[in-house]
Amino acid sequence: MRYFYYSGCSLEGTALEYNLSTQAVMHALGVELIELEDWTCCGASAAETISDLLSMVLPARNLALAARMDKDCDFLIPCSACYLNLRKVDEHLKSDEGLLEKINEVLQEEELSYRGGIRSRHLLDVIASDIGAEMIKAKVNRKLSGLRIAPYYGCQALRPYGGYDDPEQPRCMEPLIEALGAEVHDWTMGAKCCGAGLMTTKKEIAVELTGELLKAAKGADCIATVCPMCQMNLDSYQKQVSQAKGEDLRISVLYLPQLIGMAFGLGEEGLKLGLNMAYTDSLKAKFAEYRMGISPQ
């Protein structure tokens, strides 16, 4: 298995631990990640508010870089917004006849071109569909017994395109969590919105949405995420959200590959738990026991 690896901007900064743990887990699974040199921003949620064409050209530039390498493989994208933007290009090419020509007229400025046809896949899709729970289970050597994980999928990993899971009631993380020896926290909030960019521009609304998620996660040891934006909203504002909601809503929030890596017995250089903003002492204690090969009660 090999993929073009598009990490995206957040994974170079605030979501560094997502980047490093994804690479470490893929390496442990024998999956090859091909770095795209000179990749640039996908446009995030900003380009579509300024210009339709720009919102196609920015992701298409990265697809064109991959096309030039002439390797037949899919994109693997850990960030849900990057995933949506890259996938959007080929989805729109299906119905918009003149679009490819316009995109290429712009890309010509950098002597790049794109013909369409490269599949953009979310990391969760690759782990759940290509790798699968069986292969994950075979690599587990530190079972996460007694750990209760709330699977959080967020929005753009599933909607509008998805295709690998139910976009309203996703389940694909559950067999993966069970393969790690952990338990699934049964909740109905896995596909609800965290407030996304409103945390920057209209904080009170994002605090409300995040608060509902954190409340529903009570009883779990941690939330598992697959998006740097969801992660930041859930892990970085817990104090403010707790104050707004009048209850203690602090909980650990980890990226899915960090949890997989922990069960694989990977070291801190691959997991980078020290970079997480919400990693509670009780979870730290459990993880210390897993590392020593003890199943905490």
Partner: protein, 188 residues
């Protein structure tokens, strides 16, 4: 820039643009599934369902002065569930474009997006620290940065963001692409 000039610079007139938005929404039958699916509808002045009706009726100014479209988080629930299969989230993006082009977009959102894209044009990738610093500068607010200071400090301590010297002069990494997009849009 005058509004007329600004519109020309964006490559379309408000009327043309609004016509294409209305086209998207014409077959809305007002069932309200969108509103029932929207996590942030509670904070909107008009619900999504009401806004589609206002588009059908051509109430452009009322929509652009409302906060409804700027509160959309692009969760795509309405798009997924719309029984008519209408591109609702994309229509909201189009309304955001129109508001930005007319200089009417809600201040914070529009400035954040512009600052964001300017860092992308300049460096090719987003520099989170500089993005936030420049966003605060454009907002000319002394209070706003304070609410983000504790998080910024925690991120810096963890080494996840680092202050880098901004490069305001010299060519930007994606100048050619941004210029060409503008040129094509002005001629279409």
């Amino acid at each position: 820039m005058s509004e007329e000039k600004r519109e020309r610079a964006e490559g379309h007139t408000a009327e043309d643009f609004m016509a294409s938005i209305r086209e998207n929404i014409l077959s809305c039958m007002q069932c309200g599934t969108c509103t029932g699916s929207c996590g942030s509808a509670y904070a909107m002045d008009f619900t999504p369902r009401q806004m589609w009706r206002m588009i059908q009726l051509g109430l452009v100014d009322e929509i652009l002065h409302s906060r409804t479209f700027s509160i959309c988080t692009s969760c795509y629930y309405c798009t997924l569930r719309c029984p008519r299969g209408l591109p609702l989230t994309e229509t909201i993006h189009a309304l955001k474009q129109l508001a930005v082009a007319k200089g009417m977009a809600e201040k914070k959102g529009a400035r954040f997006y512009r600052t964001f894209l300017d860092t992308v044009r300049r460096y090719g990738r987003v520099r989170e620290m500089e993005l936030m610093a420049r966003y605060f500068i454009t907002m000319k607010s002394a209070v706003l940065p304070l609410s983000f200071t504790p998080l910024g400090m925690r991120l810096m301590i963890k080494g996840k963001v680092s202050p880098e010297m901004p490069k305001f002069f010299g060519p930007g990494k994606l100048d050619a692409i941004f210029r060409k997009v503008k040129e094509l849009e002005a001629s279409s």
